[in-house]
């Protein structure tokens, strides 16, 4: 379990991570999402103690990372794929890490096998393709049989077969009761793997939700209604939480009421509808909608931070 409490990181007067609190629970996959530069990598670096927080704290299984006697057994991480000396072979790289914890040689062979690197284990890591480097990073993350697996952009550079492999692997790890956290800037990809979503923008928490809930909310893209009596229907549908916009003379875009409700109201008042279409929003679009404000912020002049979510 990873628990971040009011985690903050400033570089000079630039706040990269801003009072971020979230929990990564065992037995589920948590997607850590945000546009580029949102502070995802910095947050992950703070979790494993590569950066120290300016304020706040983060614990891994109840302790700070450096407080563990066998950190690789608590949390396995893939931060940047090329955290490897290019002159060392994949096997020797993993073996060097294994030595620090007294992890036996057969465990190293096991993760090499698991990551599909058996045929290239003796090759210098510098000669690896992006995808193979990523597999080596994942092998290193799994080396210590960790209770938590944390991967930064794990599917970067992988071919479709590799993406599927990562997806199944992470699913399997979570099903075994481990906590899995993966970062991404791709909502659609993450939604396929994760159950839980932590979305950040400009270092702030924008949403801490589940994929199901996010999908449901994303569905609230409004309902398109076409009728000859647009003005009359408009007044019939009006309500406290309802907004209605119109793009053409006979068309209305209603949000705040679902298609069923609108159909019923129209039928009750004898308004003929030509079209009644729920406007579904893709997850990617919903994600962009959610993060639009924080992306816009970056080009806006400095001002007081508005709570974005």
């Amino acid at each position: 379990m990873i628990e971040a409490r009011e985690l903050t990181k400033r570089y000079g007067d630039k706040t990269v991570v801003d009072h971020l609190s979230f929990t990564v629970k065992p037995g589920e996959v948590t997607g850590f999402l945000g546009p580029n530069g949102a502070g995802k990598s910095t947050t992950m670096r703070m979790i494993v103690g590569l950066d120290s927080p300016t304020e706040g704290s983060v614990t891994v299984n109840g302790r700070s990372y450096a407080g563990h006697t066998a950190p690789l057994h608590e949390i396995g991480t893939l931060l940047e794929a090329k955290s490897v000396h290019p002159g060392r072979s994949a096997f020797n790289h993993l073996m060097a890490l294994a030595h620090t914890h007294g992890i036996p040689r057969n465990r190293v062979a096991e993760v090499i096998e698991l990551a599909g690197l058996s045929s290239v284990a003796g090759k210098r890591a510098g000669a690896f393709s992006l995808g193979m480097g990523q597999r080596l990073g994942i092998a290193a993350a799994l080396l210590g049989d960790p209770a938590i697996v944390m991967l930064d952009e794990p599917v970067n550079g992988l071919d479709p077969e590799g993406v599927l492999w990562v997806r199944n692997l992470l699913r399997g790890l979570a099903d075994e009761g481990r906590a899995v956290m993966l970062s991404s800037h791709l909502m659609s990809e993450t939604a396929l793997i994760a159950e839980h979503l932590v979305i950040i923008g400009r270092g702030r928490l924008l949403a801490d939700t589940t994929v199901d809930e996010f999908t449901r909310e994303a569905g609230g893209g409004g309902v398109k209604v076409a009728t000859a009596e647009a003005a009359r229907l408009r007044s019939l549908l009006a309500g406290p939480d309802v907004t209605i916009t119109s793009s053409a003379a006979e068309e209305l875009l209603v949000s705040g009421r679902d298609a069923r409700e609108i159909g019923a109201i129209a039928a009750r008042h004898g308004v003929a509808l030509y079209e009644l279409t729920p406007q579904s929003v893709s997850l990617e679009a919903a994600f962009m909608e959610l993060t639009r404000d924080v992306v816009e912020y970056q080009s806006a002049p400095a001002g007081t931070g508005r709570k974005a979510a």
Partner: protein, 263 residues
């Protein structure tokens, strides 16, 4: 289907896996087998050192230079040159040349090689990103630093002492019959050869320190060359009073006093 099953080590106080895959019986392993210890970090650094081709090459170059220059200096030694005070490299031109100082002619060059070796060991990790993996495995940083020093120091010490002795023995026939000829058994010879090894071992550790401080291979190597070779020369431009108080602290001078006999 890709295999996702992983062997689980049972940990006390942690719930067992939820998978249908058979779990090892609880408490089969007493406690957690995995633990970071000082010895294990040392073992890891040892393995890291020898698993890089650059370590072998740089170490080989250091010993090779030591033997080559030492031997050549002994064979080309010309007692008459001392009278004219001719140019010649360090150790070969001075009037106080001995068989030992000639054998140690290559120390300056070897010191650059072992210094670079030390730099590569530490700064090389920062340049390549390996340091992230290293510190993820050993989040307390000092054991990593001590281990690097404890690996490179003795390795450099032992191999360069052997190299210096080899240079001395290979050069001995070249000085046969000369006034300055010495044998291994002579007073202070072994001490001087081992002293050269100690000096070179310390230079390697110094390289590790520079590498950690500067975190860039190129920058740390430049600093190393500057400190070992350029700075002592620059200091001689200082007024005598200042120079006399600074000079004893230069490492190259230390090399003369640890390694050079009777200096």
């Amino acid at each position: 289907m890709p295999n996702t099953a992983l062997r689980r080590i049972q940990r006390p106080g942690r719930r067992s896996g939820l998978s249908a895959a058979p779990d090892p019986t609880p408490s089969a392993v007493p406690g957690t087998a995995y633990k970071v210890t000082g010895i294990r970090v040392l073992r890891s650094e040892w393995a890291k050192f020898w698993s890089l081709r650059s370590s072998w090459i740089t170490l080989g170059v250091a010993v090779f230079l030591l033997v080559l220059f030492g031997t050549i200096a002994s064979y080309t030694f010309d007692p008459d040159a001392t009278a004219t005070g001719g140019p010649g490299g360090p150790g070969s031109g001075g009037g106080d040349s001995t068989a030992v100082s000639l054998a140690l002619t290559g120390v300056t060059f070897a010191s650059l090689a072992v210094g670079v070796l030390g730099v590569l060991l530490s700064a090389g990790e920062y340049s390549t990103g390996m340091i992230r993996s290293t510190l993820a495995a050993v989040p307390r940083r000092l054991p990593v630093l001590w281990s690097k020093a404890a690996v490179i120091g003795p390795i450099a010490l032992v191999l360069t002492t052997v190299g210096a002795s080899a240079a001395f023995m290979l050069g001995a026939p070249g000085l046969d019959g000369e006034r300055i000829a010495l044998s291994l058994g002579d007073d202070g010879v072994l001490r001087s050869l081992a002293g050269a090894g100690v000096y070179l071992g310390l230079v390697a550790v110094f390289g590790v320190a520079l590498g950690v401080l500067i975190r860039s291979s190129a920058g740390a190597i430049a600093a190393l060359v500057g400190i070992l070779l350029v700075l002592p020369g620059l200091a001689s431009l200082l007024p005598d009073s200042l120079y006399d108080s600074i000079n004893p602290y230069f490492r190259t001078v230390m090399s003369s006093s640890v390694g050079g006999r009777g200096v």
